[in-house]
Symmetry: C2
Subunit: 320 residues, 2 copies
């Protein structure tokens, strides 16, 4: 039985490369969806306009007008407070605060609630995905960076608003330079942006790899999750060694987090996490083991069940 | 006005070197206290017997019989569940489960509740000490090892029972061997046992230090907090470099924890933490800064306000 369309909700996942928008019924089934490229120039107003257009396309696919929706949730990178977003890394010119919820609400003619992208995706996995059996879990989003979301006792834990920065836990004091400017962060070894920069440095030093040839063949300008996956299938030695290093870093960082907060489960999502799937969830679990203090009771480790749509579903859950 | 003596409670803090017992009135003032050495041989029953004797001495000092107390709380290292303790590191022959609460209750003739030592000490700082102004905090007990306690939203967070192992967060993947057998843990750089082992190795390699001369002069068999403090006062180069390394490790590990759970405050206790005081709380805060993701809003960092008695006070709070 299809859900009541009059209670349909929108969800927008704002990422560094793409904007996913979808319309869901009350059973969280997709009524329509759309994907737009994230603007790489301009500023927050241009990004908000593209979010509006993506949501309009998703609504059109669901044969609904935005103003007919019960509301729209949006997940955004950066610091989110009362609908205002600041310091959204990987988005053009978005350092200062921008009133995203108010801007979208005026443009769409319906209620809009904004949350942090990683926190809403973690909550979606907890409520509807791989995290359903657990009351405490850590979401680890392995993509361009490495983001984290924390659920404790059935509720999101946000601390003073900045909790979950698992990618910036230190796994090697004095170690590799991170994209955040600091040294030795887990993301400096496991984030896709850092992995690509590392590959380029090694190529400059004369190491051989098919990574960049594959990138050009597939007409990409960056080493996407798909390019890494193809290079691994071809047993490209450089790609294998960089991915091994990333898995070791994830193992150490996630085990550290578990030693501190002792959650029941770890859910691995993000572009690389979704692409690599359960095999890599098992590899990450094995890499955690030597660092787990209570190694007789390791947490369960799963891949996200909601995949690429988890961010948009989680955003739609912001509408009560 | 003195508290009602009929509601007096006992607290016992079981440490690797000493047992602190004290009797408190309802305002948490000390009515009597005693300190016994922890047995280094025998097994859990011998340790429990010494805890009983310490509590009896403290009660005698308060002019009370144990059976007159509202109850006795005890903080123990290791895994505590329903009054049973297992895997109590640094205590003789205490791997398997031992019914500590039941044993003490029968011996003392009053109700006994047992909790984890670091968790009760953290709770004491939260309720009565340096943590009073905060609703979320991390207690870091810098002593023989490095223990941690977590308070979130005004309540202890224990996870599945093993939360707070901040000493075993990885700060250097592939790094120094820890007393737990793993590599690269914060405790491998900052724990007093690891620091002493490191000093001995450097002396074996020909480095000069007054640490072991001071130890013998003060008739100790280990490098106590006091010995480290004296060596620093004398500007002993080896001691300075090992303590600097420990502070850097604490900075990286605590900052990692804050990046994950974003607490309002960090309270530094333990033998070294209490001995070194506020100057070192400031040094640790400075060492955290380069690793804090939200470095514009660092948590407050304080030394424990309850000092050596915090463990016994916290244990007494287990009696409602």
């Amino acid at each position: 039985m299809p859900g009541d369309r009059s209670r349909a909700r929108g969800g927008i996942d704002l990422g560094g490369t793409k904007i996913e928008a979808a319309i869901f019924d009350e059973q969280h089934s997709v009524l329509g969806s759309a994907r737009h490229a994230t603007p790489t120039r301009g500023g927050p107003a241009d990004v908000a306009r593209e979010m509006e257009l993506a949501l309009r396309d998703a609504a059109a696919a669901a044969k609904l007008e935005p103003h007919e929706l019960a509301g729209v949730g949006a997940g955004s990178p950066g610091e989110v407070e009362d609908g205002t977003v600041r310091n959204a890394r990987n988005l053009p010119g978005w350092e200062g605060p921008f009133p995203l919820a108010e801007t979208l609400a005026r443009a769409l003619g319906c209620a809009v609630v904004v949350g942090n992208d990683v926190q809403v995706a973690t909550y979606a996995e907890f409520r509807l995905g791989a995290g359903r059996p657990y009351s405490s879990l850590l979401g680890v989003f392995w993509g361009t960076g490495v983001g984290g979301g924390v659920i404790l006792d059935g509720e999101p834990w946000r601390g003073r608003g900045g909790a979950g920065e698992i990618g910036h836990m230190v796994i090697k004091i004095g170690g590799a330079r991170c994209t955040c400017g600091r040294r030795g962060c887990m993301e400096a070894y496991a984030g896709r942006a850092a992995m690509e920069a590392h590959a380029r440095r090694l190529v400059d030093k004369g190491r051989k790899t098919e990574l960049f040839k594959l990138m050009r063949q597939h007409e990409h300008t960056r080493l996407t999750s798909g390019i890494w996956a193809r290079a691994l299938e071809r047993r490209d030695e450089l790609a294998i060694s960089i991915i091994d290093r990333a898995v070791d870093a994830l193992g150490a960082g996630i085990a550290s987090a578990v030693n501190l907060i002792d959650v029941e489960a770890v859910i691995i999502g993000g572009g690389l996490g979704v692409r690599f799937g359960e095999d890599y969830a098992r590899r990450i679990s094995a890499a955690m083991h030597p660092h787990l203090f209570a190694d007789a009771t390791p947490p369960d480790v799963h891949t996200s069940a909601l995949g690429d749509l988890g961010g948009a579903i989680g955003a739609s859950l912001l509408i009560g």
